[in-house]
């Protein structure tokens, strides 16, 4: 990057908000995915803008001098959506960290992109309100990042994903225009739905600087239970049966034995380490209906041969959640590298999908642990491997492709909540076809004629 450009960037955001040292830049070559740009893909500069106007000025500069810009929040995405390319400007949005307002009467809130999701939730809950999306990374991920990746979470079974709460956005387009999409109202059909277009666009179509979200009333109470199975199939079958009985649990998480054992080793909360599978089930709502719902679910689980433990108090429920949240990283004890796949299938296909994942693991002689937000069909097949073992990594690659193909054959999708990113870029045409790719590329070209924003992703 030319010195004049570096000086201009410093002029826009202030020299103290720009990092140009090698060691600092190196730390933006990765995110929480298994890919990294490495030394070859080093960003030229890292800047922390303090306003949408500064974001706009940076993007205009990028169009003038034709350098790529990679927007980034906390870098907690697992799809490689914020990996830079050589010579890029990494734009970190964590200084935009104000909760602009929480409108209790209309049950909407406006936040800047860099607000930490869990901190926002704490604030709305103080007012008796509820922001349901709860990605596992919520303690450190940002609202803007959640929108860009359309993050999900365990509560998706009942409450959906980030997209279902975004009413409007302030977005800086790749060419620098600051636009507002959507509205602060519950209904809005004015023009194209740019809010939905931007949500999940993975930093390729615009930089989210503000988010307007709708809020719900905070459920009065919740109940958490653990159903323990000695048969994986039975556990997987139970998922669809619960919904068929007319109960919509907030959460229905499936964990296999590899997960159970390693979570227990990590957090030691008394999970049944011998069990083949467990379902972590939560229901929420009015106190009066919870016992009835728990009763129905308990009955189905027992019919399926499970033993059921209902958490007696908030502390016990909390322990189960601590365990669940530790899951993804806890399995890194088994093998040092973990690759979390994110395939999602129709709910009734879960038993079949679990069977296929296990067969693929055997075929390629690798370890695949299974965890899933099974309530919404979102299975996280977790490949446990060692990135230093080249031979195994080649088999991992083949196994992953077979999993993707099987998912699509079952009318599923490549990703339920992580995004395509660099990680699954080459598989996207399998799902959307050549026509779909053409449409997406046309949108990208129209909004970003110089291919400035996160160019490697498209």
């Amino acid at each position: 990057m030319e010195q004049t450009v570096v000086a201009a960037v410093k002029g826009i955001v202030g020299a103290e908000h720009v990092f140009d040292r090698f060691e600092d830049r190196y730390c933006y070559t990765y995110d929480a995915s298994a890919v990294t740009a490495g030394k070859e893909g080093m960003p030229a500069l890292v800047a922390y803008p303090g306003s949408a106007a500064e974001v706009s000025a940076l993007l205009k500069l990028a169009n003038e001098y034709k350098f790529p810009v990679i927007p980034r929040g906390a870098g907690s995405n697992v799809s490689g959506g914020s990996i830079p390319c050589a010579g890029a400007l990494v734009m970190v949005l964590t200084r935009l960290n104000k909760i602009v307002g929480i409108d209790r009467k209309n049950m909407v809130a406006e936040v800047e992109a860099g607000v930490i999701t869990a901190e926002f939730q704490t604030e709305v809950e103080k007012l008796g309100l509820f922001y349901p999306p709860d990605p596992a990374s919520k303690a450190f991920s940002t609202m803007g990042g959640n929108v860009a990746e359309c993050a999900g979470g365990p509560r998706g079974a009942k409450y959906g994903v980030t997209r279902d709460y975004v009413l409007g956005l302030e977005v800086v387009l790749p060419t620098g225009e600051i636009i507002k999409t959507g509205a602060r109202t519950m209904k809005c059909v004015a023009g194209y739905d740019l809010t939905r277009l931007m949500t999940g666009s993975e930093g390729t179509l615009g930089v989210v600087t503000k988010v307007i979200v709708k809020l719900l009333p905070l459920p009065e109470a919740k109940k958490t239970m653990l159903a323990i199975f000695d048969d994986m199939e039975k556990a997987a079958e139970t998922v669809a049966r619960v919904f068929m009985a007319g109960v919509i649990p907030t959460t229905l998480e499936l964990l296999d034995n590899i997960y159970i054992r390693n979570i227990e080793a990590a957090v030691n909360v008394g999970l049944p380490v011998e069990a083949e599978a467990v379902l972590l089930i939560e229901v929420d709502g009015d106190k009066e209906v919870l016992d009835k719902q728990v009763g129905i679910i308990e009955g189905i689980c027992r019919e399926q041969g499970a033993t059921v433990k209902v958490a007696r108090d908030a502390k016990e429920a909390d322990e189960l959640w601590v365990a669940r949240r530790a899951a993804f990283a806890a399995v890194s004890r088994v093998r040092p590298t973990i690759i979390g796949e994110d395939c999602t299938v129709p709910r009734d296909k879960i038993p079949e999908m679990v069977r296929i994942i296990r067969a693929i693991a055997d075929k390629f002689d690798i370890i695949i642990a299974v965890l899933g937000h099974a309530g919404d069909g979102n299975l996280h097949a977790t490949i446990l491997t060692d990135e230093r073992d080249r031979d195994e990594m080649a088999r991992v690659e083949k196994a992953a492709e077979e999993i993707f193909r099987a998912t699509l054959a079952m009318d599923g999708t490549l990703t339920g909540e992580h995004g395509i990113g660099l990680v699954k870029k080459k598989y996207l045409p399998l799902e959307v076809g050549e026509g779909g790719m053409m449409a997406m590329r046309a949108i990208k070209r129209a909004l970003d004629p110089n291919n400035i924003l996160n160019p490697e992703l498209v």
């Binding site: 060691e23 730390c27 990765y30 922390y48 907690s76 930490i116 869990a118 890194s332």
Partner: protein
């Protein structure tokens, strides 16, 4: 952990970013290279040959760690982050050498107990040239800019070290237990009154105390700066001094000293013939003052104290040693005292020993959150189990004009027994 063993540990970091939500340094500096995930990836980059460990940038980033272990406690993969940073610092010390002042203090001073003791005893005679009393008798302020910030409130080296004030053995009639007291440098040279309070409280509760004269520094300041050979020498000296004593327990009253004796010596002395088992025995026997007393139970009646107190968890006491509940139990047991918990009692105060010398401005910013939390609690007494935290929190409260006293748990109990400090 040796540099060559690091790769396996390093690749266990799945870069999830969870450390971002708890790292006090990251909270202030905000750059990815200042959080554990970043530092681990810089170490990984050195192993790959992408980053030059000899460069000033790498060394500076490795120095930006308080060793507070908050990241480690919060790391779902259980990556031994402190061991990684220590290994990097060790490599830097081996490859590049220590700065002259550290080398003089560690290698010449600390390796020779008599010389170190002589130097510390000479301190009070000369420190008046360098330090002036702070208004209100709260401590001393620098007269000259000499590596210390001019506003920095420090406690002077006491004219009479603790160990020359007390006999080598303090007996009681029909002792319930006998303990050996590892005093540590801060208590011995700077806060002898803490040592006196420890002995007084133990004595009143029927515990005999042995205070071995030949004890020396625990080695933590040396260890965290990467000077492993000196740390090993100090660890051996401590093990030799305390291993053979006829005592039911070895007591520490400083979070860092306790962490060294209980956790770090095992790693430092693992490869030393004849020492590994002795270090393990000492680790098993060592207890923090508050932990020991809470377990034994207080038998002597207190007069009580009419005040509001809060408690700061020292990182090395709470996270390294797991002692959180016991000091609170002791404080809550003081008649007349109201206990108010801080909002974030276990957040690092920013002292971290020599960290606050090397990065004073940064350590102050970290400390500001602690002082704000203390001010919001409305407590008059801030109790803690680590003399280094005490000095730093006092400095912060003084600079921010927050009223209140900072006391060691032992001092609070001594007061509750009616002993003037």
């Amino acid at each position: 952990m040796q540099w060559s063993d690091l790769e396996r540990e390093v690749i266990r970091c799945i870069k999830c970013g969870a450390c971002q939500s708890v790292c006090p340094v990251f909270r202030e500096l905000g750059a990815e290279s200042t959080v554990a995930r970043g530092k681990v990836n810089l170490i990984r980059a050195v192993i790959r040959g992408d980053v030059d460990a000899a460069g000033a940038g790498f060394e500076e980033r490795m120095s930006w760690c308080l060793m507070c272990k908050a990241c480690q406690e919060n790391c779902p993969s259980g990556v031994k982050l402190d061991q990684l940073i220590l290994a990097a610092r060790r490599k830097l010390a081996e490859d590049k050498g220590l700065p002259l002042l550290k080398k003089l203090i560690f290698r010449l001073g600390l390796r020779n107990r008599r010389l170190f003791d002589f130097g510390m005893r000479m301190g009070p005679m000369f420190q008046g040239l360098l330090l002036r009393p702070a208004p209100g008798g709260k401590g001393m302020l620098p007269r000259l800019p000499m590596g210390l910030d001019m506003r920095r409130l420090v406690s002077p080296v006491d004219a009479r070290p603790f160990r020359s004030r007390v006999p080598a053995r303090v007996d009681v009639a029909e002792p319930r237990k006998t303990v050996a007291f590892f005093t540590g440098c801060m208590i011995n040279y700077i806060y002898p009154q803490i040592g006196e309070a420890v002995v007084e409280v133990l004595k009143r509760n029927g515990i005999a105390v042995i205070i071995p004269a030949g004890q020396h520094c625990c080695g933590t300041p040396v260890y965290v700066n990467g000077d492993v050979p000196t740390a090993v020498e100090l660890a051996r000296a401590t093990v030799d001094t305390f291993a053979g004593l006829e005592a039911d327990a070895v007591i520490t009253a400083c979070g860092s000293c306790g962490a060294a004796l209980r956790k770090e010596y095992a790693a430092l002395l693992a490869g030393e013939p004849g020492y590994a088992a002795k270090a393990a025995a000492l680790a098993a026997k060592t207890k923090d003052f508050a932990e020991f007393l809470a377990e034994e139970g207080l038998t002597a009646e207190m007069q009580g104290l009419a005040a509001t107190a809060t408690y700061h968890d020292s990182c090395h006491l709470a996270r390294s040693q797991g002692v959180r509940r016991q000091p609170r139990e002791l404080i809550a047991g003081v008649p007349g005292l109201t206990f108010k918990e801080l909002k974030a009692p276990a957040r690092c105060c920013g002292a971290a020993g020599s960290f606050s010398l090397a990065h004073y401005e940064l350590s102050r910013r970290i400390n500001d959150h602690k002082v704000d939390d203390i001010a919001a609690s409305g407590a008059e007494l801030v109790v803690t189990g680590c003399p280094m935290c005490m000095m730093h929190i006092r400095d912060g409260m003084n600079q921010r004009g927050v009223a209140g006293e900072v006391l060691h748990t032992a001092e609070l109990l001594a007061r509750a027994y009616g002993v003037e400090k």
